[in-house]
């Protein structure tokens, strides 16, 4: 297993009683924005867009269910996991690093940092589609909030250094040779 930051347990416990509906609405809005701005995601998913993928972020208080074809992501209590076709399990830090191009999904899997169950084809298609989209969650969240991306991305850089979480897309370093 790779050394990675974990969400503080106190934070996870404090968030547990919060209502899920507003969180699900926000996550769904983010999902719809991402699939609209990056149409290659659904194109690459093809028939796998129909798969319901459960993201079990082990240090988070809730489970997340992604249904790409319907553009929905919903939050669920751990005690009541929803029906799903595939399940990906790992720390929040592993998901964020993979999403932002800082870590390789296969390597996280080989090292035991990520585990998958169910429809392996759907998980691979999702991983490949998101990797090609080169997402930057900080920039996307800034756009949803209607604020300029640059300050938020700079703040995310500071937060990365303080927390160890990868919160922005890995910057291109320019040609090395």
């Amino acid at each position: 297993m790779t050394a990675m930051p974990r969400l503080p347990r106190a934070l996870a416990l404090a968030a547990r009683p919060l209502p899920l509906t507003p969180l699900s609405l926000a996550l769904t809005a983010l999902t719809r924005r991402l699939t609209a701005r990056h149409p290659g995601i659904l194109r690459r998913l093809g028939p796998h867009a129909r798969a319901r993928v459960l993201m079990d972020v082990t240090d988070a208080p809730v489970l997340l269910l992604l249904h790409p074809e319907e553009g929905r992501m919903t939050a669920h209590r751990r005690s009541r996991p929803p029906a799903h076709d595939a399940r990906i399990t790992g720390l929040l830090a592993a998901f964020l690093a993979m999403l932002h191009g800082a870590a390789d999904g296969d390597a996280l899997f080989f090292s035991g940092d990520l585990a998958i169950e169910g429809d392996t084809g759907a998980v691979l298609a999702l991983r490949n589609a998101l990797d090609d989209a080169e997402l930057d969650l900080s920039a996307e969240l800034a756009a949803i909030g209607g604020c300029p991306a640059a300050p938020l991305v700079r703040f995310a850089g500071l937060a990365e250094r303080l927390t160890g979480y990868r919160l922005r897309r890995v910057a291109e370093e320019g040609r090395a040779w």
Partner: protein, 327 residues
């Protein structure tokens, strides 16, 4: 002279990452059964291929298009169209395996540079010279079953370039001939472009273990939290009689960094990194490390220390057949 570094790209993002990281050439394929990495969510549309080639060419990087599965009788048009489209998009070379497709490409696209895919399993001078003379093949990708001495001996008897794998997934079979995946799933890299297709892979947690199955066959059982390999039959852990072990090969990856100087002395022209199914993070890190290595070898400097073990299957690496005797 610097050996050419041939790097994988399963997506346009990975192609750009490879170019940025120092690839001399990038290899990729169309999103269909014409290439041997026909995995879900991977590969290039015709438009993406043309854009990718243009992006690479502006930066002085070549693009090699793999059309390296074997056409189905009656469906040759799919493969012929791939050859024509890659050629028209400006591919610097086509990587082919099937003699019929090689004949078609040589006949219909006479100016197009052709490489012989590892899927052709050409592992001796007679076979390689036949492909060179009959179809004008300019480079052969050698199977991953030869020692450095055997590669040197082959190079003394052929006039075409050789390319060898130096990193990534390790196929230990007669590539293009292996039917293990077909036996378990009905699909193979040779005809469908997939070895151990993800659609037939299932992981499940059972009694403190992660169980990996392919087409219903149990390939591995690993304690939860331990490195879990992808269930390919040739790297499976099987029980026979009272013995349990890896029959063909352990689930390890190839890392031939330390034999690059010997490969250069053996006359190898190009080094290939496996991993079109991997992410842009993998591509960037591996390419950057290997570019530093080939530059060091060309300049007569010691090889730089690489730290790529974390990217390998089983978190373990081998120099494969390059420095190995078979059981």
């Amino acid at each position: 002279m610097v050996m050419e570094l041939v790097c994988p790209a399963g997506t346009p993002a990975a192609l750009r990452a490879a170019v940025e990281a120092g690839a001399h050439a990038v290899y990729c394929g169309f999103a269909d059964e014409t290439n041997a990495r026909n995995f879900p969510g991977l590969n290039f549309s015709r438009e993406e291929m043309a854009e990718g080639i243009a992006h690479a060419h502006v930066r002085g990087v070549k693009v090699l298009v793999a059309i390296n599965t074997f056409p189905r009788a009656g469906d040759e048009a799919i493969w012929h169209r791939a050859v024509a489209d890659a050629s028209h998009a400006g591919a610097d070379a086509l990587i082919l395996a099937d003699p019929g497709l090689l004949a078609h490409a040589a006949d219909r696209h006479p100016g197009q540079r052709l490489h012989l895919s590892v899927q052709a399993a050409a592992a001796n001078p007679d076979a390689i010279n036949l492909y060179a003379e009959a179809f004008g093949v300019r480079r052969v990708v050698l199977p991953r079953v030869l020692t450095v001495e055997e590669i040197a001996a082959i190079n003394r008897e052929i006039d075409v370039e050789t390319e060898v794998f130096v990193f990534g997934g390790l196929c230990v079979m007669a590539e293009g001939r292996c039917s293990l995946s077909s036996y378990a799933t009905g699909q193979s890299p040779n005809m469908n472009g997939v070895c151990s297709p993800a659609s037939h892979v299932a992981y499940s947690g059972e009694a403190g273990e992660t169980v990996a199955r392919l087409g219903g066959f149990t390939i591995h059982r690993t304690p939860k939290g331990q490195p879990a390999p992808y269930p390919t039959l040739c790297k499976g852990c099987f029980t026979s009689g009272e013995q349990t072990g890896h029959i063909f090969e352990d689930p390890v990856s190839l890392d031939a960094t330390r034999v690059i100087p010997a490969l250069a002395r053996a006359g190898v022209s190009a080094l290939k990194i496996e991993g079109r199914q991997r992410s842009r993070a993998y591509v960037a890190e591996v390419v950057r490390n290997f570019r530093a290595a080939v530059e060091a070898v060309a300049a007569g400097r010691p090889l730089p220390e690489a730290a790529l073990l974390g990217l390998t299957e089983g978190q373990a690496a081998t120099t494969g057949a390059y420095a190995k005797t078979w059981r």
